[in-house]
């Protein structure tokens, strides 16, 4: 999709020009200077990506373009020129005429961004409300046409449905249709695939690529996902803490980043790191407090190359060409370093404390957790209504014939999209849901359907790390109370709780003063560490971690993963990591189990699975991850269709409806699990060779 307009001077006409935009948020803590002198042009018919981590201000830019900022926001300077108008100083009716008509948005989470009580027909007709001389029937026809264009099957019928009738991927397609309905001049996309599963994400990326090509649209894409940016964008703006640190053409940014932050960000992305060491690079520290004015470079506190001058003087804007620029003292002026940036093979950021890539441990031979042929069923309809409706089965199989082992000191990644049953499997290991058949053994002891009273002492040996640490932590308890809470829950007395709290804080490298803080005062990474400390409190042998890095920025997720690896090496912990994030699991898991519709379709050593997937679904997942390299834009076609509902599990292979190589046999016969000579197991009639 990158049109090689080259990096020539002022390539392309400018549609939207952001100049010197500065903006504050008034908060009880003071004025947060969320954007400071942000400038960049959006050129016609090109896709520009704004990339940054949380707190970088990337979404704020998007909302300022639309004039839909939060009430406590105050623009302190600059202008946003759209064609001949200044949107920052336009009146509300003027802005309303632009919104949805000339500038439209694709939203992040299609689950919450579409009103649940109105049909798509009504929502789309409302968007066209400014056209009084177009009849209702005509508006409907336009909407149906647009739904068909974004790949919604049977749009005539589906337009009368409500958002909850659509799956996540379909909703996002509908969201794109709504945004394009009026034929806007500028399309804004706010993390358009973040809420989607890998295979859906791949489909949406394809759709956006095709549409952009077809419509020659101008797009501003906001994302933290470097892969998405590399796949879709022509130009990139890198934001850090409210400032543009670097901007330029996409290949320049990804292949020869000039700013230390851009460089570090790229190095931290697990999807880019090919050597599977257990340690991931991290950018130490947290985003600065934007209520305090700061002289010098905003990135200085975390920069590995910081100089004296960086702390006192604003770095200069150094332009390599009319479209490429970066702000850093290393690039010009007295601190100019002609050897910067170094060769791409050099890692410029640290790998966290105790950077030691050799802690590769050999898992012990005995098993810690052994699940065999586990089945978990959920009741879907009540007894009476099943009887009334004449239904024969009232259950769905959420987990079907699952066998899995975890040894001490081993990390097993359980990978699957939503609805794959991975979370249910995790919960049944913890005896939180009861399996109907099969066995779950913990250190040789059968625990499936064990009464809670007998199970409780065992629960000390297994700990759960939750997905959303801040949400799962009680907001009124201090960190000290939180990390020692497991002792109270299990009624363990006779320990010095204060000493334990300090021991645990030390273990997860949480500085002592944090013990008296409260969850809302913690950053994402710190809260996650509290979660780890809680899980470790009772010296468990097995930790089940549900999406341990979900919602964390790339620059800090390495910290948590490295910490988990260190703790494992020290204490011989077994990890069962439940996730949909393949790049992350690739770096930490020894073995992978891929789940689809409640079954494990492939299981084996991580490196082998990645290098050579045998199951077509695994291959789709591995190839579906957007690559943070504009030269490796996907060439293959993403797998079509969606995960079928558990209610109508296919008779043969569960994946048959979407499998590119499905045969008649696949539709008739459920593939059994087969163990290959190298110990890999799969469930496919025609494994890939």
């Amino acid at each position: 999709m990158a049109k090689d307009t080259g990096t020539g001077a002022g390539a392309g006409e400018i549609l939207l020009d952001i100049r010197d935009l500065s903006l504050d948020f008034r908060t009880p803590r003071g004025r947060v200077k969320a954007l400071r002198n942000v400038s960049f042009p959006v050129r016609k018919n090109r896709v520009i990506g704004i990339v940054g981590e949380s707190g970088s201000g990337k979404s704020t830019i998007l909302w300022s373009i639309l004039g839909l900022l939060a009430k406590n926001a105050e623009v302190t300077g600059g202008e946003i020129r759209f064609e001949d108008r200044d949107l920052l100083h336009a009146s509300e009716p003027q802005l309303r005429a632009v919104r949805g008509e000339e500038i439209s948005v694709v939203f992040q989470d299609p689950m919450t961004s579409q009103i649940p009580v109105l049909t798509y027909a009504r929502q789309m007709r409302d968007i066209l409300y400014r056209r009084p001389n177009v009849s209702v029937a005509e508006k409907r026809r336009m909407a149906v046409e647009m739904l068909a264009k974004v790949g919604i099957p049977d749009p005539e019928k589906r337009i009368d449905q409500y958002p909850h009738h659509f799956s996540g991927g379909m909703r996002q397609r509908a969201g794109i249709a709504m945004a394009l309905l009026t034929g806007p001049k500028l399309l804004l996309a706010d993390e358009p695939t973040t809420a989607l599963d890998v295979t859906m994400e791949a489909q949406i990326i394809h759709l956006l690529q095709d549409l952009q090509k077809e419509l020659d649209a101008t797009v501003v894409l906001v994302s933290h996902n470097l892969g998405l940016i590399a796949e879709l964008c022509d130009d990139v703006v890198v934001m850090y803490a409210g400032e543009v640190v670097e901007a330029g053409e996409v290949r320049e940014i990804f292949h020869s980043p000039q700013h230390p932050y851009t460089r570090a960000l790229l190095e931290c992305d697990p999807a880019r790191i090919d050597d599977v060491s257990r340690k991931l690079p991290v950018i130490p520290g947290d985003i600065p407090d934007l209520t305090k004015p700061r002289a010098g470079c905003i990135f200085a506190p975390r920069c590995q190359r910081v100089q004296e001058i960086c702390r006192t003087e604003k770095p200069p804007r150094v332009a390599r060409s009319p479209v490429n620029m970066a702000r850093c003292h290393l690039l010009a002026g007295p601190a100019h370093d002609p050897d910067w940036p170094p060769d791409p093979s050099v890692i410029t950021v640290g790998r966290g404390v105790e950077a030691d890539a050799t802690t590769h441990k050999v898992p012990a031979e005995q098993t810690l957790l052994e699940v065999s042929d586990l089945n978990v069923q959920f009741e879907t309809v009540g007894r009476i209504s099943a009887w009334l409706k004449g239904l024969e089965t009232r259950h769905v199989d959420a987990v079907l014939d699952v066998s899995l082992t975890v040894r001490p000191g081993e990390t097993v990644g359980l990978v699957g999209e939503s609805g794959s049953g991975k979370t249910t499997l995790g919960r049944s290991v913890l005896n939180l849901v009861a399996g109907q058949a099969g066995s779950v053994r913990f250190e040789g002891q059968e625990i499936r359907a064990m009464p809670e009273a007998r199970f409780k002492p065992l629960r000390r040996d297994m700990a759960m790390m939750f997905q959303d640490p801040v949400g799962s932590l009680s907001p009124r308890k201090s960190v000290r109370a939180l990390i020692t809470e497991p002792f109270l829950i299990h009624g363990i007395t006779g320990v010095d709780l204060d000493a334990e709290a300090e021991r645990l804080a030390d273990m997860v490298r949480l500085p002592k003063p944090f013990l008296s803080r409260y969850p809302h005062e913690l950053s994402g990474g710190q809260a996650r560490r509290v979660g780890v400390a809680r899980a470790l409190a009772l010296n468990p042998k097995l930790i089940i971690a549900d999406e341990p890095t979900a919602g964390l920025d790339v620059s800090v997720q390495g910290e948590i993963l490295n910490l988990m690896a260190d703790l494992q090496a020290e204490h011989g912990l077994g990890y069962l990591i439940i996730t949909h994030n393949l790049p992350v699991v690739r770096h930490i898991a020894d073995r992978l189990a891929i789940m689809y519709l409640g079954r494990i379709v492939e299981e084996g050593r991580t490196d082998a699975v990645f290098a050579h997937p045998v199951h077509p679904y695994t291959r789709a997942l591995v190839e579906g991850v957007p690559q943070p390299d504009p030269d490796r834009r996907r060439v293959h076609v993403s797998i079509s269709g969606e995960v079928p509902s558990l209610l109508n599990r296919p008779k043969g292979c569960d994946f048959a409806g979407r499998c590119p190589i499905a045969q008649d046999r696949c539709r008739a016969e459920k593939p059994a699990h087969v163990t290959m000579p190298d110990g890999r197991r799969h469930a496919c009639h025609f494994p890939l060779t």
Binding site: V105, F107, T112, I115
Partner: protein, 314 residues
């Protein structure tokens, strides 16, 4: 959906049975002969005998109960002890007055309270929001009988704008409406406060939802966003509140009906209790309960109509 209605009707029947059971047991828990209790100590022996027969007092109590339920299902609620008219007719005559009063009272509370709540939520901390806040708290705090008395004193006695008592000339709609205004004002006033508060709270929540921001990002006019989108979702919890309030008002209009000397269910039951006119009490309470259940059911169906997700789960 059919299954859901069946379940609800079964539930309604059970509730009505329970209410009848309580009414029955009251009669038998009071020491003494039920007929004497029902008719009062000065009733003639013939009247007592007639009553005992009509009420099947010689039958075992569970049979009496079943007979009553059976009759009630066919629309026969028994006969008034004094006038010997059918209870169904008597209750029916009064029902219209109560429904008109409750309908008008709730109606004006809704037309004022819901928009007030909306506007307050759209502009939080504006003067309108503050006024609404103070207004709600004060109208909720003042009991409706006090409002009734004050309204009567000011508008009827002092200013003589509106008639004080009665329900108006039968057949004269304008006169009947004039008689409705003060009591409807009195019973609705606190509901203005309730509704404004409730709507404001749920509107504030909904206005923060992502899909409202989407609607605004598509350039929809503020009025469409507030009333066409946000209110459509925010009204759902309020409908339940209105349904329960409506049902509750049917029996709790008694103060207004007494103070304004209006005929109505509440006053009917009140008078019947005073006169120990047991069949009327029984019939009146039964009809009020039935109405209550009906209104709550309607409000649930209304929610289902507004919200497709609820509709499909029925």
């Amino acid at each position: 959906m059919g299954f859901y209605l069946l379940k609800r009707l079964g539930l309604a029947f059970a509730v009505i049975c329970a209410v009848v059971l309580v009414l029955f047991s009251l009669l038998y828990l009071i020491p003494g002969d039920p007929a004497t209790i029902a008719l009062g100590p000065r009733a003639s022996p013939e009247a007592i005998a007639r009553y005992a027969e009509r009420m099947h007092l010689d039958e075992p109590i569970w049979r009496q109960f079943l007979i009553f339920i059976g009759n009630a299902l066919t629309g026969d609620l028994g006969v008034d002890v004094f006038s010997e008219r059918s209870v169904t007719t008597i209750v029916g005559e009064r029902l219209g007055f109560t429904l008109a009063l409750v309908g008008l009272g709730m109606g004006w509370a809704m037309t004022l309270g819901i928009p007030l709540g909306c506007l307050a939520a759209v502009r939080p901390n504006s003067w309108l929001d503050r006024v609404t806040g103070v207004l709600s708290v004060s109208t909720i705090a003042v009991p409706s009988f006090l409002v009734s008395i004050w309204a009567l004193l000011i508008f009827a006695v002092h200013l003589r704008w509106l008639p004080a008592i009665g329900a108006g000339e039968p057949g004269d709609v304008v006169d009947q409406l004039r008689h409705l205004i003060l009591p409807a004002f009195a019973i609705g006033l606190s509901w203005v406060g309730y509704l404004a508060r409730m709507v404001r709270a749920s509107m504030l929540e909904v206005m923060g939802e992502t899909y409202i921001r989407s609607a605004r990002a598509f350039g929809l006019a503020p009025r469409r966003v507030v009333f066409g989108y946000a209110l459509r979702v925010a009204i759902l919890p309020t409908i339940t509140l209105i349904g329960m309030g409506f049902g509750g008002l049917i029996s709790s209009t008694v103060f207004a009906e007494i103070i304004f000397a209006r005929p109505g269910i509440g006053k009917l039951i009140f008078d019947a209790v005073m006169a120990r006119n047991f069949p009327i009490v029984q019939g009146g309470v039964l009809v009020a309960t039935g109405l209550y259940i009906l209104v709550v059911l309607i409000s649930d169906l209304l929610i289902a109509w507004f919200d497709p997700r609820v509709r499909e789960s029925l």
